[in-house]
Amino acid sequence: MDRISRRGFFECMAWVGTGVVWTATGGILSSRVLPAAAAEPAAGSFSFVQISDSHVGFKGEANKDAAATLQEVVTKINALPTPPSFVMHTGDLTHGQKPGAFDTVAELLKGVKAEKILYIPGEHDVFLDGGKEFLGRYANGGPGWQSFDYKGVHFVALVNVLKYKGEHLGALGSEQIAWLQKDLNGLSTSTPVVVFAHVPLWAVYPAWGWVTEDSQQAMALLTRFGSVTVLNGHIHQVLQKVEGNVTFHTAMSTAFPQPAPGVGPGPGPMKIPEAQARPMLGLREVRYVVGTSPLAVVDSTLA
């Protein structure tokens, strides 16, 4: 008999119109014929939300009140038809690490209807004190990187704003990369993996600091997996890239937009009226449907 993978079997069956979705609930296998399965989300499926770059404390032309737009995003999260299993904030919670800003963020996100809210830092959250306040609040004083498994998906949260030397802001550091290698070791290649990091893990625009200098080493550890979704922030706009089984998505900010790579003199906040900025701010819902790949990424704005 020909060697065939589970995925290959499904593909063959789909051709002949007898595709089936298998899900495991409580250890008991059950099946549904594909067309019927499409009508309702398969058991074991879930969604989570990514928000990024809330920059609470920012006051500029594009947004006079970053806390208010973050509150609007919280309201939108709570209005989602399917409540997210968790919310991940991919960094730059505060703008300039202003006193009281972390408290404001914590207060606002208390209103989110989700089991868990997770955070990784952006450079604005750590530059004053090398991350002491942030890591004390959100990582029990640990290094800030972590991983967890949820319904068969492996999630990894990385910190790439604390190890830089030289010209590049984004850096993971050898200790974290060694940790990642150990963390991924032993996972089967069919495990979907989701990776969060603040600064993009691909070279979006190095001249503006939109790159992680040692990301290649991390990505090399991930290429063996059948489905890898990388979710980043930092650049305040949605850009996507596909490299084999890896899809990269950067996210909108909830505070202010930044220009497209290389367009204009620098990466700073766009100086546009608030009404024009709103459609460029928003959140992201990511849906995982068991047996499908890649994850479905749905961005929505404050417009």
Binding site: G60, H168, W208, P267
Partner: protein
């Protein structure tokens, strides 16, 4: 700055005079005594200028931070100068010495930071939020 200019001119005139050494001793052709008169006047003027209460000895030196650039990227100043940085970006920036000799907090739009450079040397600095930003103060 004025004091320096005048002193340089004075020295130049001295060189011209020495060039025309004759058996009778130094003299400046065509200019004769006139070479010494402007020199003396210049020195006197320089003394008067430095005594003037409303003229600062060192002019303030400024660096603007705009579009994530330090402008000018390299600034040369005499020892004792206070350099003032001003952030013209909505984005937060810092002025952080790469050798930890001086450093600002996060600067918002229109916020300033000053540091007085007393020792001659070369002082590179960067922004803690944007390490690709580079600036230098050269102190004579």
């Amino acid at each position: 700055m004025e004091l320096i200019k005048l002193a340089r001119v004075g020295r130049g005139m001295d060189r011209l005079c020495r060039f025309t050494m004759t058996r009778r001793g130094p003299s400046c052709p065509r200019r004769g005594r006139f070479a010494r008169v402007p020199l003396a006047a210049m020195i006197a003027l320089a003394v008067l200028v430095t005594m003037g209460a409303d003229v600062p000895a060192q002019a303030p030196a400024s660096v603007e931070i705009e579009n994530s650039n330090y402008l000018p990227p390299s600034l040369t100043v005499p020892a004792g100068t206070t350099v003032r940085w001003i952030n013209l970006d909505e984005e937060t920036h810092t002025v952080t010495s790469t050798t930890r000799l001086f450093g600002s907090a996060g600067l918002d739009l229109k916020e300033e930071y000053s540091h007085t450079f007393t020792a001659p040397g070369v002082y590179p600095y960067t922004c803690d939020l944007h390490p690709h930003m580079r600036g230098t103060i050269v102190v004579n």
